[in-house]
Subunit: 602 residues, 2 copies
């Protein structure tokens, strides 16, 4: 983008606002709107005003430079695409409501692309045919569309946004590994240059498919993603944490299961204390962790179909629907992103065997109500803590009745194991690096080892060095460009406004002319010219009838890192230079102002 | 965009093709695909490969620089927009099938913007409130969508394309005039820098509304637009040509109208000769220009409704449906773009008074079949040549019968005057600058004086210097950026490939290493480094196993203006420098190669 070297505030298309926009929850959203960088056009859809567009261009260029540095080549795909390629990989359906779909005048189905795996695969198929052509890394910085259910936080979760997406095409897993780590390193550099701390966490691949995947999370209290880390260096998305599984238990001495009346014990707590009083365990006291809570959930597939599942977890833990959403699809053989919610009354009506509040794998009459070969046929997935031989107190599918000493593998079996429980601070990390610490973050980037999923679906094969056709191995890598900008704003602000890092700021220096008389204004204009000639991008507040107070306030709101006040001291050859971040100001002489300012700014 | 200073062809993501794409009709389309600049993704939708993206960036920058030079400020709007603003101006409906419409997950109507008048109007309304804020010129270089009925000629008429659109906001017509001419001059500079000859023609505003409007046409035989010019400097879109109207005729001596049998005269020609034989005129012979041909047309409004109209034109002229389409909407009070087609049998069934082949304003029984207060009620619009008092031979709505001496204003009247006739070479220009010459062109830009249409519809008012609210005056201005690129390719090519102008070329110089041995390759690589260090963008054909013939062919196809061959003479310190346009080659010494090449390239 060509730089405009001096912008005069009297003419710049910007209006600062005193009040926060009504729909803004987070500081970056409030300030970017108030300072005139962006305007809301529709939910999750924003317009870039001149200041915002300048900053966006700078963020894009950081990303572009680091992608070019690893030899990735820039291309540009359309946003409006035909249905067929996305049909071939099932993503037309799997994306569910998140996909903007439309028809053209001839009735052909089209979509606004949320990401371009299919198109890049087809493009490489179209152009390349030999192992000699690989590896190739391609990327684009392009406008993406996702019809988010809850667009929020301004640019942080929008429906139209700029993303850098890249794709690697290699002959084998080794090549993929190399491409993956090249991108991983490039991303570390990008976020370092953008001044955004990043934690790289293990992630589930979700709708993208593929094997290994990591997220680049920027830790911030306003983040939507919860992740966990340890002091020993482990970090993972909560969805990707695996439970440290206890050893199997020898159940040979565990008494046979019994069905007991448990009146007036509607909560886990009352159940446990009643159990210890009336049905004591021989070796130790019952605890909440000995109770088995069975939850009936509805899994809504991308095609809208509703599948009921039962999930059994220790009574001292809650089910984490987010973890269930990520993990249950594969167990049910459903592709794409599913939604999970509690089963409703209508769901329960279909299964009179299940008694709410007392749901369990069996009853005194029929011990196969949930689980393998059960009467209900509802798939029953167990938390990994329900190891073979462990004994549980659980519902007996009768009002105010529970089963005792129900042993996994002896008295009931699940249809599979699921990571469904909430992850808690203090839980052990799966890699043994210590107890988990919880944190929140924003997903700034995501890297995927796709493997051959897309190449197989779209038949991307090239000749190997023996002249045989071989399916290409792929990776895909994304950076949220608009989101990065918002995160930078979020991190760099105070109550007065934005505080841009120098390499992202819309201008290098903000000259504020105060005081009356043309001399000051002319002097400020002359300084602006000199600084611009020295290669700086200058914002010049030349507004004639605006008070110094308003000008200073605007300078703080707009957030240019250095401002220069040309005012009262001007007659004596003095001007003031002010650092936005520290608030520190000092007087310098007009004579060597250009050198002083250059030294400050560079 | 950051420049990659050396691209090695062995790694560049490009594949040249020997065969023309099956769907390509024009040279630019064939060559841009064959040379690996673009790939088709869907009808009228293209992907930019690395070479194409570089060229596109250069074209964009020329446009950006000239817009910045007139003080226009760059912003960036979303492509995906809510329906409401376009509803307020009627364009939601008026765009008809050309608009891509969709619904979001909540069922809200949205569109992919074909142009952004509404959004810019609302943005200025949002930010500005006083005459002191004006004038302001805003622009964006942005992806636009139009669901063209017939996308064609590659990038020349696409459905997703890049456009520069700008909008001026001024207090009055004088300000608009200034903004309009600033854009007009900027556009002249842009096309001059792009090396595209331009004829500025008067145009109809069509769906945009507003008063004055001019098109920037690039004359080329493959253009879709027909325009006319004179040697005296007149130029207009065919739709915008106005007829030189003859003087009214004194009809006091014209005989009364008569209805005559005209057997066996099915054509205008036979009718004229029979008329001269059987019903001669006293003063001179009848000619085809004395016959009145009445055509029944169906006008299809954007909402799909079908309106019948009758159009009366001299028998020596054909009706030009394009001219009717542009002009008939206003006469019928239909907003937006209409389609016009010949009436069909079903249309005719509704009006048994009309006898095909013999249609006229009246019959011997009823002289009000078409025109004011007529029985059919079909609006009857007359060509401007049907002046008051002129006498005509026309159909009598009976088989093989015609009416003679039907005088306009005496025997019949139309419901309005329409520019409906074909414009012919040799017709007089309306400004008296001589006979019209026909030509074809591509619309490269369009400038509109919108006036207050959009500002009124969306209530954009600011306080004037008396503190009174005043509606803002607007202009809108567009340049087809992708189309400009295609036009440049179309103009600059030969049978071997593309020939880019230097300021648009993807690289400054294309080094071709031929001959065997690492020395040549190393020498070429060293030269590439030196040229790159000197600031040139270098494409380096380092492909090891490709024959010189193929390399030369690719260099010609890719079209970099200067190529340098490092080959046979290298051992003797000689290389060859070749001009793509002229084909001329000369040997230079390796020693001062950098200076020689710089001199050639700059």
């Amino acid at each position: 983008m060509t730089q405009v070297t001096i912008s005069r505030l009297s003419q710049l298309f910007v209006r600062t606002l005193r009040d926060n926009p009504a729909d803004a929850e987070v500081a970056s959203h409030k300030l970017l709107v108030r300072a005139g960088y962006i305007r809301r056009t529709a939910p999750g859809i924003y317009t870039w005003l001149p200041l915002g567009l300048k900053v966006l261009g700078k963020v894009e260029n950081v990303v572009r430079e680091e992608m070019n540095a690893i030899g990735a080549q820039e291309v540009h795909f359309p946003a409006l695409l035909p249905r067929e390629p996305y049909e071939a990989t099932n993503r037309w359906d799997e994306y569910g409501d998140n996909l903007f779909r439309l028809k053209d005048r001839r009735g052909a189905d089209m979509l606004l692309a949320p990401t371009h795996e299919e198109m890049f695969t087809l493009l490489v198929k179209d152009l390349y045919s030999s192992y000699k052509d690989l590896p190739v890394y391609l990327y684009q910085i392009q406008t993406k569309y996702r019809d988010e259910a809850r667009p929020r936080a301004g640019l942080l979760r929008g429906r139209e946004f700029v993303m850098k997406d890249s794709y690697s095409f290699t002959m084998d897993d080794e090549g993929l590994e190399e491409a993956y780590f090249a991108h991983r390193k490039a991303y570390q550099k990008i976020f370092e240059r953008l001044g955004l701390e990043i934690v790289i966490v293990k992630a589930q691949s979700g709708a993208m498919g593929g094997s290994r995947s990591e997220e680049f999370l920027h830790p911030t209290p306003i983040g939507e993603d919860t992740f966990v880390r340890t002091e020993g260096g482990y970090a993972a998305n909560v969805e990707a944490v695996t439970t440290v599984v206890p050893e199997p238990v020898d159940a040979s001495n565990t008494p046979a299961a019994t069905f007991e009346a448990t009146p007036d014990s509607p909560t886990i707590e009352t159940l446990v204390s009643q159990s210890n009083a009336l049905h004591p365990r021989s070796d130790r006291e019952w605890t909440a962790a000995d109770t088995l809570k069975n939850v009936i959930l509805a899994v809504i597939a991308p095609d809208g179909e509703r599948h009921l599942v039962a999930i059994g977890v220790p009574g001292d833990r809650e089910v984490d629907l987010g973890r269930v959403e990520v993990n249950v699809g594969a167990l049910l053989g459903i592709g794409g992103e599913v939604e999970v919610e509690a089963a409703n009354d209508e769901d329960f009506k279909k299964f009179p065997q299940l008694v709410k509040g007392y749901i369990g794998p069996g009853s005194s009459l029929d011990n196969k109500i949930l689980g393998k070969e059960s009467a209900t046929g509802i798939p029953f997935f167990l938390d990994p803590r329900l190891v073979e031989g462990s004994a549980w107190i659980t519902g007996a599918n009768e009002f105010e009745k529970h089963a005792y000493n129900m042993v996994v593998g002896r008295d009931f079996e699940g249809d599979g194991v699921i990571e469904a429980c909430e992850v808690r601070e203090g839980d052990p990390a799966p890699d043994g690096s210590g107890p988990l610490i919880a944190a929140r973050g924003i997903e700034m980037g995501h890297i995927f080892q796709l493997g051959r999923k897309y190449a197989e679906a779209l038949e991307l094969k090239v000749l190997d060095n023996n002249g045989k056709l071989q399916t290409v191995t792929m990776g895909s890598y994304g950076v949220g460009v608009t989101r990065a900008l918002a995160a930078i704003a979020e991190k760099n602000h105070d109550e007065k406004g934005l505080i841009w890092p120098r390499n992202i700021a819309p201008y290098d220096v903000h000259i504020v002319a105060t005081g009356k008389g043309n001399e000051v204004l002319d002097g400020a204009a002359e300084l602006a010219e000199k600084l611009s000639a020295a290669g700086l991008d200058v914002l010049f507040d030349d507004r004639p009838k605006v008070s110094p107070g308003v000008k200073f306030g605007d300078a703080e709101l707009l957030g240019v890192p250095t401002s220069v006040v040309v005012g009262r001291g001007f007659a004596d050859g003095k001007i003031e230079i002010k650092d936005r971040a520290s608030g520190e100001a000092r007087e310098i002489s007009l004579e060597n102002a250009v050198e002083e300012i250059l030294a400050e700014v560079r």
